[in-house]
Amino acid sequence: MSSTVLLELKDVHTHIGAYHILHGVNLQIPRGELTLLLGRNGAGKTTTLRTIMGLWQASQGTVHFNGHDITRMATPDIAALNIAYVPENMGIFSDLTVAENMLLAARKASRAQQMDEARLAWIYAMFPAVEKFWHHPAGKLSGGQKQMLAVARAMVEPRDLLIVDEPSKGLAPAIVQNMIEAFQKMKASGVSILLVEQNIHFAQALGDSVAVMDNGRVIHAGSMAALSADPVLQQSLLGLAL
């Protein structure tokens, strides 16, 4: 695997019970870039992310991350390789406070006071709601604030790869814009990012590279700029024009 490729899936198949969901996914995530995974509902995007994280095991094929074969590894071991994951439902612990949610993700800290203050200041600048509601129960936050907390929590310590499933889902336009700016800052910090997204404008504003999925396969991979510039390709892959 080339050193420019951080994560690589080769011919990955995933079954969930009797259902064959992924039919040989091939995907490369370049180091230091933001990659968008696009596709219709049911195309296999979320299953791909969960397979990467070991939440569902691939029945065939391989997943390599940063030189490690993670195909058969358990989820905590995969996360320990410095991969942060934000699921579609955000995974917020609603009975815990915002501070406690953040502390959980800070594996090196056993108390809130031990979290990296400079890192927190950087996060607060991107997501002011996290600081504002620090001592509030996370379950009381709005949908947008929860999404901000979910992404902030994922980045509470430096990670090599951030995987986020539909960060703009259900968010108001102003919050989406805030999210776009936050992801741009995170990308500038050097972290590689893999986003599943249905919001095409969100994708266009952020993506360096793009992979399009359909029926459990990657049917197109290339640069976001190339896809944005080719209305025919957009129409054939996504059924719409950007």
Partner: protein
Amino acid sequence: MKTNLDIKPLLLVPVLALLALPLIGSVDTWLTLSVAGLAMGMIIFIMASGLTLVFGLMDVLNFGHGVFIALGAFVATSVLSGMVDWTQSQELWRNLVAVGSAMALAMVAAAVIGLAFERFIVRPVYGQHLKQILITMGGMIIGEEIIKVIWGPLQIALPLPEAMRGSLLWGDASIEKYRLMAVVVGLVVFALQAWTLSRTKVGLLIRAGVQDREMVESLGYKIRRLFVGVFVVGSGLAGLGGVMWGLYQQNVVPQIGAQVDVLIFIVIIMGGLGSTGGALIGALMVGLMANYTGFLLPKLALFSNIALMAAILLWRPQGVYPVANR
């Protein structure tokens, strides 16, 4: 700090106690029954608190929890019968050393057996509720038979140490010393649990794991290790509860755990599966209800707790403190 503490369930215990007062009629009798109920509730809480976390963390239905209770009670019979000089002393501190030794050994024995129980009986059936029910009940039957082999099938007396016998009189109300001690021990256990769950990272992980174990794993923590730890601690607490329940009854039979299992399940269902705060409220209500109805309508004592559970579940179908994301 802002909290989202739901205060309504906290009012259930005093409301139940106050509702019973006019029915009982005498304030002194009511006070005696209330202290007895709170003591019983605290002991049930000690036994139930581990079980509710075990269910909350891993969806494990452990119907064999009673075996740890029985083991604790029988270990206490051996320890206390070997410390007769200490238990028959009039000095309270010597009695406390004897009971403390029995509690410590019972907790260690139950925790060790709990470790083996989790490894060989529970682990092979993760995620399979029907098999969990069958195999854990089978484990309890085997455990009871082993207890009969070691200690015999007959009832064994477990008398209270000298200085813990008798009652304190407050007006005409008679409050047994041991029951006061049970309340104190229960409060200490609850305080330690509350501190661990709210002030330590391990506690934070347990609370998070009860809500969403998949997310805890995605953050890099091995929840099965955490679960084994909780299972072992829960078993140890059941052993402690067994000592206290045995001393409360002043005799021990191999079925002591199975007998109290029904009350424990009522408590954790009423409290909200996975909630220790809910388990405390449920246990105190069960203890009070058992004592009040035992006095007013003895034939309805067990039914009254089932009726109480039904009433609570009509109000809050997932228990008084439902655990989020479940």
